[in-house]
Amino acid sequence: MAHESVYTPNSGIEKWLDERLPIIRLGVDFMAMPTPRNLNYWWTFGGILFFFLMVQIITGIILAMHYIPHESMAFDSVEHIVRDVNWGDMLQNMHSNGASFFFIAVYIHILRGMYYGSYKAPREMLWILGVIIYVLMMASGFLGYVLPWGQMSLWGATVITNLFSAIPFVGGAITELLWGGYAVGQPTLNRFFSLHYLMPLILFAFVGLHIWALHVVGSNNPDGIEIKLKEDSLPFHSYFSMKDAFAMVLFAMIYVYFVFFMPDYMGHPDNYVRANPMVTPPHIVPEWYFLPFYAILRAIPDKLFGVIFMFAAIAIVAFLPWLDTSRVRSMRYRPTAKLFFWGFVATGLLLGYLGAKPAEGGYVIASRILTAYWFLYFIVALPLLGWTQKTKTLPGSITEAVLGKDAMKNNK
C-alpha cells in the first residue's frame, strides 16, 4: 500500500494474527486508501464493474450446473434452465443481460479514463492491465454467446474464428485448433465451454492486479492533479464506499429493468433458432459490444489487413500513455483536445451503428472515414495536441479546485 498503515490490532487474537498473517491490516488499509475528495460519479464505475464481475461468475457457475455443451442438447439445455430449473429464467436473464451491462459499464469506465487522462504517469500499468481485462472480457463475451447454440451463436463463431485464417502461414492451423476440426461443431462447442469457464477466473486475477496497481498509485481525479494537501483526500471508507454503493444500486436498477422487463432487448431473435450449419442467416451480426470493431474489420477491403486493423484498433488503446504527449491530464483544462475526444466518442457510436448494417455502398465509405478518425485520434491528434495545445491554468490543489481560490485564502 502506498500510504501509512492505519491499523492497530486491539485484541490478543488480532495481534497474534497480525504477526503471522496481516490480513486484517491488509483489509483495513485497503478500505482506508486516501482518495481525492473531488471524485465525481464517473469514478463509481470501477465498483460497478466489480459488482457485474461477481454477478457473472455466480450466475455462470449455477448455469453451468445445468448446461450441456453438446451440439444436439445445448439449445434445449438452456431452454430447460429457463423453463424447469428453479429461478432458472432469472439466472439466465441475469447472465445474458449482465454481459451487456458489464460492457456498458466498461465503456463508461474506459472513456472516463480517456477523458480525465487517468492513463498518464504513474498509472500506465493500471491502464495496461485495464486493456488486458477488456480483451479478456471480449473473449469471455464471444465464447459465452456461442454456448446457447442458436443460429447467431454458430454463425457468429464461424465468422470470428474464420478471421484467424487470414494470418499468413499459421492461420489455417490456428483456425483448425480453435474448431477442433474443419468447421465449427461439437469439439468447438465443448472447448468454448471450457474456455468460457476459465476466462472469468483469469479475469478475476487480472482485476486483482488492477486494483493492486490502483492502490499503489492512488486514484486520479476530475482535475487531474495529484494529492498535495492533507485536505485533498478522504479515506475510501466510508466516504467513497457509500457513494459507490449508492451509484451501484442506481445502475443495478437499470439492469434489473432489463432483466425482468425486457430480457431479450439486447439479444437477436435468430438466436432462438437452433444452430443449423445448412442455413446461413441473411445478416450475421455479433453482439452489440463488438460492433465498432466489426465495422472496422469490414471497412478494409483486404481480409488480412482488416483483421490487423481490427486488432490494432484495440491494441492502440494500450499505448495511450505514450501517445498522449500532454502534460496536463484532465480534458477539463484541454479545450481543444476535449473536442477531439467527443469526436472520438461519436466515432465509436457511429461505427457501432455501421457494424450492424450490411457492408455495402455508402456504409463502407462511412466506415472507412470513421476508421481513419479512430486511428488518427491516437497517432496524430493526441501527440500533436500535447505539444501545441494551450491549456487552461490548473488549480493549485484539489482543495482549491473544490473550494475556489478565495475560500482557500480565507481559510488560511
Partner: protein, 307 residues
C-alpha cells in the same frame, strides 16, 4: 503556428463527423422500403402486463384445432398447460383430453433409444401429463416431405425467434434506428414476436397484390404473404373465420384466432412471464427504497465536506 493547427484540427473534426453523419442520413433516406405493420396491444405488454388466461385457452384451442397438424412443440409437456401463469387447465381436464383424443406415445419417447417388441414395432402407451406434446411428424424429413419440401418450424420458442422489425430486414437508417431503440426501451416493447405472428396470419393475399416487389413471381405451391420475408411462403393460409369454435363463446373471426394463437405462442416461448414481471416489480421497489436509504447515508457522511 498553434492557432493554425487548431483551426485545421477543428476543421478536421467537423469534417469527418459531418461526413459520417451525412452519409448515414442519406442512407437512412433510402431505407424506406418494406411495409410497415401496426403493433397490436397485448395483455402481457408493459410492467404490469400479464397473460390473459382465457385468451391462452382460446389460443390453445386454435393450436390444437389447426396448427398441431404440422407444427410440433417439442419443449412443452402436457403438464405445462396446467401450470400457473399459463392456460391453467385442471389436470383432470388435460387427462380427459388425452384420453378422448387417444394420444399415444412411444416408449421410451425419445428419438434415439427406442424400444421395440418382437415384431419390431414400437411399444406405445397412452400419453400422461409428464409427456412432451406429441409431434405431428416422426421427424423433420417426414415433415418436409408432407409440406412440399418446407419445414414447419417447431413452436416451442417461435414467439421469441421472430420479431416484426428485426425480422431478416436488418436495421433502418441511423436516426429512425436510434429513435426506435430508445422508444422500445421507454415503452418496454418486447412483443415483436407475437406482433409478427399476428401479422403473418392476417396478411395473406389470394393473388399477388399490386404493391408486391417489382418482378415478383409466385413459385408453384407457394402463397403470397405480405409479412413473410420474401413474401412467398409454403404454408397455406392456416386460419379463416370460424375455423375453430371457441368453448368460451367468443366470436370466431380470423382476427380473433390470429391474436389468440399469437398470445399462446408467446406464452409457450416465455411460460414464466407473469412470475418474472411480478418478481421484477418487487426487486425494483426494493432497490428504490435501498437507494433512498443509501443516498441518505451518503449525504450524512458527506455533510461537512465540500466536494
Amino acid at each position: 503556428m498553434t492557432v493554425k493547427f487548431f483551426k485545421l484540427a477543428s476543421g478536421f473534426v467537423a469534417f469527418t463527423a459531418g461526413l459520417g453523419m451525412l452519409s448515414s442520413v442519406v442512407m437512412a433516406a433510402g431505407d424506406g422500403g418494406g411495409q410497415h405493420f401496426a403493433k397490436q396491444s397485448w395483455s402481457f405488454g408493459g410492467v404490469f402486463g400479464r397473460y390473459d388466461q382465457k385468451q391462452l385457452r382460446r389460443g390453445f384451442e386454435v393450436y390444437k384445432g389447426v396448427c398441431t397438424g404440422c407444427h410440433s412443440m417439442n419443449l412443452l409437456s402436457y403438464r405445462n398447460l396446467t401450470q400457473p401463469g399459463g392456460p391453467e387447465y385442471g389436470e383432470d381436464y388435460i387427462k380427459a383430453m388425452l384420453k378422448s383424443d387417444e394420444v399415444e406415445v412411444n416408449l421410451p419417447h425419445n428419438d434415439e433409444g427406442e424400444i421395440v417388441n418382437e415384431d419390431g414395432d414400437l411399444f406405445t402407451r397412452p400419453a400422461a401429463l409428464s409427456d412432451r406434446i406429441k409431434k405431428p411428424y416422426a421427424n423433420d424429413k417426414a415433415a418436409m416431405a408432407a409440406n412440399g419440401g418446407a419445414l414447419p418450424p417447431d413452436f416451442s420458442v417461435i414467439g421469441k425467434a421472430r420479431a416484426m422489425h428485426a425480422n431478416h430486414e436488418g436495421i433502418p437508417g441511423l436516426f429512425t434506428w436510434v429513435f426506435a431503440l430508445v422508444k422500445d426501451v421507454v415503452t418496454q416493447y418486447q412483443e415483436g414476436g407475437p406482433d409478427y405472428i399476428y401479422t403473418l396470419m392476417t396478411n395473406y393475399h389470394e393473388t399477388v397484390p399490386e404493391n408486391a416487389p417489382k418482378d415478383f413471381s409466385l413459385p408453384e405451391g407457394k402463397h403470397y404473404n405480405a409479412a413473410f420475408p420474401g413474401h412467398a411462403i409454403s404454408m397455406a393460409p392456416p386460419l379463416s373465420d370460424g375455423i375453430v369454435d371457441y368453448t368460451d363463446g367468443t366470436k370466431a373471426t380470423l382476427d380473433q384466432h390470429a391474436k389468440d394463437i399469437s398470445a399462446f405462442l408467446m406464452w409457450a416461448a416465455e411460460p414464466h412471464l407473469n412470475a418474472r414481471k411480478r418478481r421484477g416489480f418487487m426487486v425494483l421497489i426494493y432497490l428504490a427504497i435501498l437507494s433512498l436509504l443509501l443516498y441518505g447515508v451518503k449525504r450524512k457522511i458527506w455533510e461537512d465536506v465540500k466536494h
